[in-house]
Amino acid sequence: MDAVCTFCGNVCDDVEFDVNTQKGKRFCALGLAKFREKERIKSPMVDGKEVSYEEAIEKAAEILVSSKKPLLYGWASTVNEAIRYGVILTEKVRGVYDQCASVCHAPGTLAVIEEGIPGGSLGAIKNRADVVIFWGSNPLEAHPRHPTRYSVMAKGFLIKDRKDRKVIVVDVRKTKSAKMADKFVQIKPGYDYAIISALRALVKGEDIEANEVGGVPKEELAELADIMKNAKYGVILYGLGVTQSRGRDRNIENAVKLIQLLNRYARWIIWPMRGHYNVVGAGEVPAWEVGYQYAIDFSRGYPRFSPAEFSAVEMLLRKDCDAMLVVSSDPAAHFPRRAVEHMKNIPVIQIDPFPNMTTLLSNVIIPSAVAGIEAEGWAYRMDGIPVRVKKLVDSPYWSDEKILKEMLRIVEEKLEG
């Protein structure tokens, strides 16, 4: 059956999956693993006891309504329809909405606030980009089909052949992706900002005094600047190597300034390589509903944005939330230990198709249908292009959308009553 993959930010819409035989076509290994049957949460549970959906949702609503400041976190691996109910639910219970980006690509959002983002869709890259730079990103291992579908081997309007395109990988170690590149630039960890600054100077035609920056000899930097300046249409695709290393949002801000400058000479764009299949939607939906992408507090009845204050890890470290709803995410496995410690001390509600570390410390567990296999809805690819993920098979599990809609209804009832 025609499917749309709901693993990474590529959201490949050309795949096929047979639910009966568990076989897929055109999937990468990561996507296929997500689609194949694996251990599921069997039933809704409250405090270790199997209950009905209605009972679990009732209990969850009760926890949310009676808490002073609940944290509603996750959202990157579900569809927009569910996220929208989640945002409205957070507003109703005057809690805090945060999503996975706050621990990965949010520095890119901060850079957008400082400088904007001169970008383009993946189709723009496929059709036009003759220079492609992966900076602190490793598509072959994180977004395996990105090179073939969009960026390296992809053929399009102006790019007829792999030879029409120069591919450069900038990273601290020689990744698998580095091996497919025409040029690999190995940099010292934490020197992205300095290197970007050097490139800005060189592109402008200025000299730099140092003989090397961040482990890259001046000649190599000059060569890189030259390639960039002489591109017809270039793109920097950056990853967590840039957002989560020293400098964080300042790195990307600096890279955006480099792109602004390059556009005086050639056409250039820059774009983040987003991870989960709908982490873009987890930011876009709250942006239109309440004005911000993440770290949004509603305790005053209107949304406030403050990343250092209202992002999930900060909230947990400060013990500033007294309940937590986790949707399609696994903070217990990924957050700092001290943050997880607080999760153990407060009621946690989980909505997820699969058991994970967070399941182990959740008081209310609500299993959900897998979007892309058992439920449909909108997801936004890493470039913000909407793709409708499909429902291939009926399932006894409720979709995230249905669970959250019902939870919102009961919460509204309780608040009014």
Binding site: D13, R94, L122, G123, A266, E289, I385
Partner: protein
């Protein structure tokens, strides 16, 4: 059932100018008195009050990736709290509003319909998701065609039948309402760092010119007989001297006629009405444009009025946005979109003492005053020229020379020599401004049941505490400016949504889309679609677009 009693009605479509009458509403429609049982009606006492149709916004950027990136880029915009969550949603925003805020704020000035003026076709599901999140108002959206490779191909091949088929296919897939064109050819040239300046410039790789693109799209649109004409954002936007390009563009449609509506709508003309050769000698070209528009019977325009204060430039005209970024040094978002076009976003603030900004403000007003009231729609090109919430200010300015004189005192004196605004004596009437905000935009959009209060019209009504028999707008401009901001009632589809200027109920409007597939042979373009999707798109053809059932409350408008 509603009975609006003793109101003073202005309804330009039905040639009613200040007549005391009753309006009856049943099942969301305006009906004849005989249709209702008066005993069962809720009665609204509109004695000495102005009763008009709900406002129709025909060009604003209210949904989709552009405004949403704008919100993300500008948290400083989101720090104005308009409404705290209780029964209604929280709503925030200075000029860039959240989706709930957009619905509430339109209703709060008596507007009940709003059209998103530019959606990248591949992003149309996003646009619809946001439209579906806007409460109260009825909606529609216009997909952008002017830089789409399919359009270049069929224009180059001079194959109008296929172009028509493509338009019908694309509007159905995007659930769009009409054909929007932004800087035809210029955005494609931007992919190579360039732009097009003149109507005769060639588009790189395609050998077609803006002139050919516009002409073919207009002719196709007319042959398809779509409810709305081509909706054009002209080439050369934002550049001194561009008024000539605008006039040349308008003349491309001379000789074409359509008895129901215009054959070309030229949008936010303020940004395309500059004389002079550089920013040093820039001046207004509004008078010349007004002459041309008034002399042609098949052109309409909207103002694109600049409002002093904060705004955000956002448009499919990506090369212009880069120019603006260079000019202002401000933040810059760009989005090149597959083979369909592009877009850009740049924050801006219009300052009264800045000569260029004052000029832009004056040109908008000149256009509003000098163009006949049945040819110019009131818009700010939200959020490009400023917030739509300032429409009452613009209405008052159009009606009062005294108010304009007062405002002129605080703006750059450059306006005195570069525009004719100080000398313009025209004072539009209440009838004129109701026309420019209701009946005309509805007619321009081809929305028959909107913008008037005749039998069968949608029951979208605004009632203001203005007594047309008593008021002198030229002198009482403050009253006009304040009362149009707080309708006594806004009624949407027969439901009272605003009372005394405050939102009292949240209803959900409909989304209109146009289906012209019956008029074309979709088979004729099947192979081309497959070939382009296989070669140039990153989405499978089968996954492109939106099914009707995925929209919240769709209305299909079939063209036969």
């Amino acid at each position: 059932m509603l009975w609006i009693k003793n109101g003073i009605v202005i309804d330009p479509k039905n040639k009613i100018d200040g007549e005391k009458m009753d309006i009856f509403i049943k099942d969301g429609k305006i009906v004849d008195e005989s249709e209702v049982n008066k005993d069962e009606c809720r009665v609204i006492d509109a004695n000495n009050k102005l009763v008009v149709a709900g406002g129709v916004e025909m060009h604003a950027h209210i949904a989709g990736s552009k405004i949403n990136v704008g919100r993300t880029m500008r948290p400083e915009e989101m720090r104005i709290v308009r409404h705290t969550a209780n029964k209604l949603r929280a709503s925030i925003g200075r000029v860039l509003l959240t989706s709930p805020a957009i619905g509430y704020e339109y209703a709060k000035i008596g507007y009940t319909t709003a059209v998103e003026a530019a959606s990248p076709p591949i992003g149309s599901p996003h646009t619809h998701e946001e439209l579906d999140a806007i409460p109260i108002v009825d909606k529609a959206m216009l997909p952008v065609f002017g830089n789409w490779h399919f359009v270049f191909k069929y224009v180059a091949e001079k194959d109008r039948e296929k172009l028509k088929a493509f338009i019908a296919w694309a509007i159905e897939r995007t659930k769009g309402y009409g054909v929007k064109v932004v800087n035809p050819g210029g955005v494609e040239a931007w992919m190579y760092g360039g732009n097009v300046k003149n109507l005769e410039d060639e588009v790189p790789n395609w050998g077609v010119t803006p002139k050919e693109i516009i002409t073919e799209l207009v002719k196709s649109n007319e042959e398809l007989d779509l409810p709305h004409s081509v909706h054009l954002h002209c080439n050369n936007l934002g550049n001194p001297g561009n008024y000539q390009t605008t006039i040349e563009t308008m003349k491309l449609v001379s000789g074409l006629a359509n008895e129901k509506r215009q054959t070309l709508h030229v949008t936010h003309v303020q940004f395309n009405a500059y004389a002079g050769s550089s920013w040093r000698d820039v001046a207004s070209g509004a008078e010349e444009i007004a002459k041309v528009v008034n002399s042609m019977d098949n052109i309409t325009i909207d103002m694109g009025q600049a409002i002093f204060g904060h705004a955000t430039a956002m448009t499919g005209d990506a090369p212009f946005q880069f120019t603006l970024h260079k000019l202002t040094g401000s933040r810059w978002v760009n989005k090149d979109s597959e083979i369909e076009g592009g877009a850009g976003i740049v924050p801006i603030a219009y300052l009264p003492k800045n000569p260029v900004h004052a000029l832009q403000w004056a040109i908008g007003l000149e256009l509003g005053l000098l163009v006949d009231s049945d040819k110019v729609v009131l818009t700010t090109d939200y959020p490009n020229g400023g917030p739509f919430t300032e429409y009452p200010y613009v209405m008052a300015m159009l009606m009062s020379r005294k108010m304009r004189e007062k405002e002129l005192e605080r703006v750059s004196p450059y306006v005195q020599k570069a525009t004719s605004l100080p000398a313009i004596e025209v004072e539009k009437t209440l009838y004129d401004v109701i026309q420019m905000t209701r009946s005309l935009p509805a007619r321009v959009m081809g929305m028959e049941n909107k913008g008037h209060l005749g039998i069968g019209a949608d029951a979208d009504v605004a009632i203001y505490s203005i007594n047309p028999d008593d008021v002198d707008p030229a002198a009482q401009y403050e009253l006009i400016n304040s009362e149009f901001r707080k309708p006594v009632y806004t009624i949407k589809g027969g439901e009272i949504v605003v009372k005394d200027g405050a939102v009292v109920a949240e209803s959900w409007g409909r989304t209109f889309w146009v289906d012209a597939r019956k008029k074309v042979s979709l088979d004729s373009i099947d192979e081309d679609l497959n070939s382009f999707f296989n070669s140039y798109y990153t989405i499978q053809r089968k996954n492109y677009g939106i099914q009707e059932e995925w929209l919240r409350n769709p209305v299909r408008v079939e063209v036969n």
